[in-house]
Symmetry: C2
Subunit: 223 residues, 2 copies
DNA sequence: AAGTGGTCTAGACCACGTT
DNA sequence: ACGTGGTCTAGACCACTTA
């Protein structure tokens, strides 16, 4: 509603109209103005100082703040051509993954093994485990826009909420070396991600291995 | 104000009192209730569905959502004893770093070289560049609680806003190998972080190298 | 139809910075 | 003293879900 003002011509470096001014200018109540301004602050376009006023922040970030994106979406953001080879789709049990999710050993997963390409070079291998109850026929489902997340959202109506992600550096093992076409022991990024629905239920666990020289993780943080 | 309700005894798995109920129960207006609820949603304790109600989410996260913490603060969170050896404090020019910050080549930095210990083992080496104009006598300033961020906040009144952080895996070079006591070419995490004040001005640039086997990055993301 | 969350209004008082 | 953002009130109407 108000976002236009800042995105557009207003990009000076300094003072922004006061809330009372905007209230008059836009003929809406002050609470509404404040909600809109809060969003702009949240997105990093403005900052406010009590008693002084609101100011336009210096423009920022190639990346959104602590935002969860899939590999596909991430690459699209950076305008990199991406492709993905599906090695396997199976329904499996996995005690390890079940434990990580805090669910029963009996629960099945749809396991998806993929190689991720940037351009036509392998950049990562990924093993994804989606809870079978939540996406029953995922094994033979075409992926929406090639993206698992989009598929979960569009086909299964699952609302993805948040994730916890851990990253570490380790030497490539034999399998990884072969798949990524790097020499053994060369540094790779090992990523584990546990994804939850909006209600806090776990949906997905991903184990990925990225080539150290082809991929870097960028993340925005706020204090 | 309201946070007690959820943090405390209310931790069932389901329905939360409606906004109208809470309004009566707490004798505050609905807008106030809604603001409080929004915070709880933001923090991941609740989720809401229009037309259905508010619900208690399954508890989450060892880590805060996309939060910026320093090494010291981070380790304190995880209850790990940490120490830090300061190798060097100098005032320098650095074209590279200046460029990354988008400021003039002429601007000086306070450069701080440190080795970070977990327990008594080296876990990382860090070179930190703080803009000299913003923290003039930082070179001979005692660090508040051993933390640079706390020092910037408390001594210099700088309000840290956000950061962009990139992580990649690479083989240790000769210097890193020696300092971290690992063999050459063993995998390490290279981290670069650019930190900004609330108004968007850059303050700090950090280049860190972490031992791959001693440190893993955990981050929470939301969709 | 009734109950839920989502949005908005038109005021009020407070805390803080600047003058 | 004045202008700023921060918080709150007591209502209203809308969109959506469930029965």
């Amino acid at each position: 509603m108000l976002s236009w003002i800042s995105s557009g011509a207003f990009s000076t470096q300094q003072q922004f109209p006061s809330e009372r001014d905007l209230e008059n200018a836009f003929k809406v109540s002050r609470m509404t103005i404040r909600r809109a301004l809060s969003e702009l602050v949240e997105e990093g376009y403005l900052y406010r100082e009590q008693g002084r006023g609101s100011f336009v922040a210096r423009p920022r970030l190639e990346h959104q703040l602590g935002r969860l994106t899939s590999f596909t979406e991430d690459m699209k953001l950076r305008n990199l051509a991406t492709d993905s080879i599906i090695l396997n789709r199976t329904v499996v049990n996995d005690r390890d993954v079940a434990k990580r999710m805090g669910i029963s050993d009996e629960d099945k997963f749809v396991r998806l093994d993929r190689i991720r390409l940037i351009g036509d070079q392998p950049a990562a291998i990924q093993a994804t485990f989606v809870r079978h109850v939540l996406a029953p026929d995922l094994v033979d489902q075409e992926l929406v826009e090639g993206s698992l997340y989009r598929t979960l959202e569009v086909i299964y109506g699952l609302e993805i909420g948040h994730a916890e992600q851990a990253i570490e550096a380790k030497p490539a093992d034999e399998y990884e070396a072969e798949m990524l076409k790097v020499s053994r022991y060369s540094p790779v990024l090992a990523l584990e991600r546990l994804t939850f629905l909006r209600n806090g239920e776990p949906v997905e666990f991903v184990r990925s291995t990225f080539r150290g020289d082809r991929y870097r993780f960028v993340v925005a943080l706020k204090r």
